[in-house]
Symmetry: C2
Subunit: 335 residues, 2 copies
């Protein structure tokens, strides 16, 4: 919490995106038992998975176990997860008419299971900041339009370029839903939130400003001055200034930008989160240590650095390496 406010802390805090994930045997067991979506929608189970990861890794924050696509369930788009695979959206958004037909949901009603899970974790881990989160409008829209993951976002960009008015309506609706969803999480006890615009790095800076920025701003605005916000994306080395304009007390970056350069471009008014390549955790510990030092050198001990990976931890990661990483960050930065 101090790092979010750019205040000096006894050591650089660290957590890992997807810290409760497939790399962890405890998690795989629970996931196999319940299935992924059932795991997300049962508050006791989601809370258990959240807490287990924190205790196992010794990280400085919990992040509620959930999925950025959960709002698509009450929107009735036919969301499913194939075993071990990515999301599939059965009724994808393919036209302006499809946008008009979308249901505007009330997260406080239809996603209340996330608030319940937050309340349980809040009780069980009273001494650890708890992060709530949501997908950003662009990243949500990309899944809805592509019908799943994509390598090139061809359908999304084509929609954006050819149906700009329907695009604006879609993004406006998603911004509203996301803002409400994040407010619900704050009210339930989340200490800070992260907005995941995971795929926004596919866009040019000009397209980001025209087609995305107003909506990310609208999604973050209801939280401003209430709890700290982390605004995260991958491949955003060309978008940093624009993402900062959109909002966030902390800007989350991936490994494809030098942390020092990122910070000098972002200026003094924000904290920064990142940015080890998750692949580094597949290396041996000596190489991991070398790479952790590079990140810490670039951050230069500046107050307001939250150490994290540049994206989610990989399923192939040895649990020992994740634990070693957390220990290294604490050891190398303790004052």
């Amino acid at each position: 919490m101090k790092a979010c406010r750019r205040e000096a802390a006894p050591y650089t805090p660290v957590w890992l995106m997807r810290q409760a994930g497939r790399y962890m045997p405890e998690y795989r067991e629970v996931r196999e038992k319940f299935g992924f979506l059932a795991l997300c929608t049962r508050p006791e189970v989601a809370a258990e998975v959240t807490v287990t990861a924190v205790r196992r890794l010794g990280v400085d924050a919990a992040i509620i176990f959930a999925d950025i696509l959960l709002p698509l369930i009450p929107m009735k788009l036919g969301l499913s997860y194939e075993a071990g695979g990515g999301p599939r959206i059965e009724r994808r958004v393919a036209s302006a008419e499809d946008v008009s037909a979308l249901r505007e949901i009330e997260p406080a009603e239809s996603l209340s299971f996330v608030a319940d899970a937050i309340r349980i974790v809040r009780r069980e881990l009273p001494d650890r900041p708890l992060i709530g989160f949501a997908g950003a409008p662009f990243t949500l829209a990309s899944y809805m339009i592509e019908g799943g993951s994509s390598r090139d976002y061809r359908l999304t960009k084509t929609f954006m370029y050819r149906e700009p008015m329907a695009w604006d309506r879609l993004m406006g609706m998603l911004a509203k839903i996301t803002g409400k969803y994040l407010q619900m999480q704050a009210a339930a006890g989340a200490d800070l939130i992260q907005l995941f615009d995971s795929w926004v790095g596919a866009l040019s800076p000009a397209d980001y400003r025209r087609f995305v920025m107003p909506y990310s701003r609208a999604a973050l605005a209801p939280l401003a001055g209430r709890i700290p916000t982390i605004h995260f994306g991958t491949g955003t080395a060309g978008l940093l200034e624009a993402m900062r304009e959109a909002g966030g007390d902390v800007i989350g970056v991936d490994w494809r930008v030098n942390l020092r350069e990122a910070w000098s471009r972002l200026g003094n008014g924000v904290a920064i989160q990142g940015n080890l390549d998750p692949m580094v955790l597949l290396a041996e510990t000596a190489e991991i240590r070398r790479q952790v030092k590079i990140v810490l050198e670039q951050a230069d001990g500046r107050p307001g650095h939250i150490f994290n990976l540049g994206h989610g931890i990989l399923p192939q990661t040895p649990v020992d390496h994740a634990i070693a990483l957390v220990d290294m960050v604490h050891e190398l930065t303790s004052r």
Copy 2:
């Protein structure tokens, strides 16, 4: 050629990566008749495809029809292309031993068909600059290690981190082959060359400097002062300064960076190529025009801008849109 030297030109020159490609019916016909690799290895056919694209589009440069993976044929790695799909490498490089077993080829012997194709185009298009090209060591290594395309370069990075000495040997060999291959193309009549480090944007700046830069530099060095070189990559907004240090008279960037910012970071000593998102060509002409103007505004009429897409033209692109793009660039920049 003037743009490569950063001299004023009567209009901004434009060519399109993959300008002879699947989006063009004439090309599809030839490809179906011969198959992709046969097309690349038959000089008359490769030359015909090269010339047809230039005449059809009215672009300011020809690029020899070939493939960055051609060196893998004489290296006997079992390269093949599935119909309409990406490359497959049957005998992928999985260990340090596999690196030791690699054949160091002599491009002047085993890739002479590319030189022959260059000579034919040189004769048929005497008034148009002809671009030769090769894959950069990192991008070649990634295909060799992954056995094909990849989304995350997991095997490549793991190899790099866990087998740094074998990695250095592999990259050293590929730099040598690439340098010789490019020299052969220059000797055959290429007026300039492009080094494609298409996938290097997957790396952190620190990893680029440690694991890639010396080898890209070694590949480009034999051309320095001989013919102009374009050093291209995608997703390189965090790598620009390092790529410039590695070499190139022109730095090629994709759409994920503002051209003005890229140029100000690269400094006055280089020309720049780019950077329209190829997806824009799937939009209607009014949107294409709006986007072309954004790129041209960012380039600000500065001598040394070569207009291009940020990556290869997409198979779904209407030919008319590609032609319209070329015309727009000429019309909007004619002085």
